[in-house]
Structures are given as C-alpha cells and as structure tokens.
Symmetry: C2
Subunit: 257 residues, 2 copies
C-alpha cells in the first residue's frame, strides 16, 4: 500500500485524486487545498484540509498547484525528510525546498476538467534528486495504469517544450483551419477524420516519413494558390513559415528517419 | 449497379480501386494508366489498359492523377457527354475538358501506399457542373462507406487549404517535436499519447475551447524559458509565431466557440 497526500485542486490534482481513489493499492491520506470550497464535493470520500500543519505522514506528497505556487508551498511544509513531488513539466526539481526529498511526477498529457481520460495513455515522467525515491514513484505510476519514464531535468524540459508543439501549437493549427472553413460556410466537421488520421499515422511511422502535400512536393503552383486564398495576414505568415520548415526538412538529400 | 473506370495509378486511385472492388454494387469496367507496369499486379482482378481509345462506356470515369496531368488527360478522352470526375482538392472542376460532364470526387483524407484506411473515416467532397450528376456520385461515395458532402468550388478550395494546416503543418510540428526530443536523447514515443489526445479532443469540443498552455495563459516566464531552450532558429521562429497566434485568438475578450 502506498500512502499519498495531494496538495492543490486543479485539473491534474483532481484527475490524480480520481485514479488514486479507485486503486486498491493506494491510500489517499489527505487532500489539502488553500480553500476548502474547491474540495467540498469530495469531503465524503477523503479527509480534506486547508491547514498545512494538519498534514499527516504519507509516503509521498504530490504538489499539483500552478507553477508559480510550487516553490512557496514547498517552503511552507512544516516537516522535513519526506518525499515531495510536484507535477509540473517546466518547474525545476530544485525549486522544491531542500528540507524534504525532492521529486517530479509529471503526467505528460492534456487534462480537461470533467473529461475522463484513459490513464494507460498518460506517460508519467519521473525525476528525483535521490535515487532511492525512484521505485516508489514508479510503483505509484504503475498502480494507476500509467507507463513511467525516468528522465533527467534536461529531458523533462525538452519533453515539456515538445509537448507545446504537438499539443498547444497543433491545436492552434486546428483553430486556424476552423477559421478558414467557417469563412466559406463549410463545416469544420469534415476535417475531423483527417485530424485523427494525421495523429494516428505517426503512432507507427515517423513524422518525417508521414509527410505529404504541396510543401514537401515543392508544388509551387498549389502553394501560390493557397497564399492567394489566405486573406488573413496572420494565417498567411503561418502558411509561409511552416511551408519553409517542411521544405527545410525535406528539401535537400532524402533522409530515412 | 454503378459502373466506374479509374484513370491513374497513384495512392488515391489504388485505394479507390480496392474499395470499389469489394463493393457488390459497383463494377469496375477498366483501370487505365499510361504505363501498364503499375497495374500489372492487378490485371487478374480487373481489365487494365494503357490506351484511351479502348475505354468502354461507364457511368463515371474517375481521374486520379497528379494535379498537373488532370486537364491534359481529360482533353485526350476520345468521347463526349460522359461523366468525368477528378479527385483533387485544389484543381478547378473547369480544368476538365468541357466536352464531357464535369465533376469532382475529392476524398479529404491522407492516404499512404500500403496502409489500409477505414473508408467510413473518409469524407468525400462532391462538386459537379451539372446538378443531375450529384445523386450518382453521392451513391458511389455511400456504397464504399463514406460520408459525402456537396460543396461548391470555394468551399472545396477552403477545405483543401484547411487540410494543409491540420495535416501537413501539424505533421511538421510533430517533426519539430521529434527533433527537440532527439536532441536530448529522450524518446519521441513518450509524446504519442498526447498527440492522439490532442486530435481526439477536437472531435467533441472546438479547438478554441480545447486550447491550454503557456501562450493561452500568457505565462511569460515559461515562454521565456522555452525560447531560451530552443537553439534552432527555425524552431524558435515557429514557437514565436504560433505563440502570438494563440495570444491573438485568446488574448482579448473570451469568446465561446
């Protein structure tokens, strides 16, 4: 049995609470939040508190608060030599107060409030300042059905940055496509199967090999047509930059990766 | 029974051949290609020809050749008043020779040679110069399990352009993420569930509502960290442009679409 306390009440904290609660090998000792109101609907399922001094011993304290609040919260903890893990992709493990054993338990996935997620599709990146703490965090991840990956600080930072490209930036390209279709009164829905297949394709072949389209073929006629169609300057700038990026990747000697 | 002849031997032609062949209500009359070699492996399953003068009557001739070859091929057809449909997203229906009835049968999906695709996930955009030809093309699409959408020229052009954003450009963002992770020796595989979930999310909520991350939050600290991490100038330019695009979309008054 692994004993866990959760600190914070955002999306990640709430998703972790739900999966910890349904695990038979994890016991949630307490759920802390600065304001108890956010936890009110869970108070029949778990002991809640808004007082750090009430925190009882646990194998690990998961700090799932906003990036800027992590360091301050870790400083306020009224105990030492216990295992503390934050869940952020971009905050350094050394931002946690050094009076405790420090770690990161970073679920690399996009969580939306109220949207259930298959935990087997959530990779957990684990980083610790002390080697001895890896097995417990790996076990915690496995017991909720996740794949775990031990990473170092540089690797976690690279993953967080890469995640912005494949999640936030990709989603913005969907948004631009939505704007383009809306402008001609055609349904964005028609693009949804293509969006899925594009994501599916790179599950088995590399993005390099998956690439197709006018930029890869250097089909100047189509590129010119498209630039003429784009009345929005911002959309045009994105079109130009990503077309030149594809040309850069595929332009010279073909590579096989 | 709908009778069809296919002209061309690329990805789209081959995928259409496979699904037409397995339909009990579609008969493939002939498969034409300039070179018979590309069709050699299919000659036991269908009558193949490399001579346009041999083409027999069919309800519809599907021209699935490269964009630049469509117009010329349609001019060479030695008959008139028959229904001709090309499969391109960007070529005008009027680029087909006007001696025949002209149409577009555009499958909005990414096809890879040898990769089977679920046809129910292939929307077919249909455009015709004559109204009477819509029902046959709709029936053809339905009989291979596709959703069909009647569109006009502007709408098809908008869809083709939007498809470049959600397919080619999105795939290039995956490629950049691959480069970023590779550089730190961390596996791109860890990002694959996030790639899928990002595509999944917009199947049910709009890209506008699905957006998260540092750019949307205007989290200057994280953005600055990321820009410092990006050593590749090209990656940096993409980061800056898409961050500013997200800010543009989400920056001012919150909208609900």
């Amino acid at each position: 049995m692994i004993t866990v306390s959760i600190l914070g009440a955002g999306n990640v904290a709430t998703h972790l609470f739900e999966v910890f609660l349904h695990s038979e090998t994890i016991k949630i000792v307490q759920w802390y939040n600065r304001s108890l109101r956010a936890l009110a609907m869970y108070q029949d399922q778990v002991e809640t508190t808004n007082n750090l001094n009430d925190l009882k011993p646990a194998d690990v304290y998961i700090i799932a608060v906003s990036d800027d609040a992590i360091s301050g919260l870790s400083e306020q903890l009224p105990f030492k030599n216990r295992l503390i893990a934050h869940t952020s992709g971009s905050v350094s493990v050394y931002d946690l107060d050094k009076k405790n054993r420090r770690a990161v338990f970073y679920p690399l996935q996009t969580f939306s409030k109220g949207v259930a997620i298959d935990m087997s599709a959530v990779p957990i990146c684990i980083e610790t300042t002390e080697k001895q703490d890896v097995p417990l965090l790996k076990a915690l991840g496995k017991q909720i059905g996740c794949h775990t990956h031990k990473v170092n600080s540089e690797q976690r930072r690279a993953l967080h940055l890469a995640a912005v490209f494949v999640n936030n930036f990709t989603n913005q390209l969907y948004r631009v496509a939505h704007e383009i279709t809306e402008q001609e009164g055609v349904e964005f829905d028609i693009l949804k199967p293509l969006i899925l297949e594009t994501a599916n394709k790179v599950q088995t072949i590399s993005p390099y090999l998956a690439q197709t389209g006018p930029a890869k073929r250097n089909d100047k006629k189509t590129i010119k047509k498209h630039l003429k169609l784009l009345t929005n300057e911002h959309h045009q700038a994105i079109y130009k930059l990503l077309t030149s990026s594809i040309k850069k990747t595929h332009g010279s000697i073909p590579r096989n990766n």
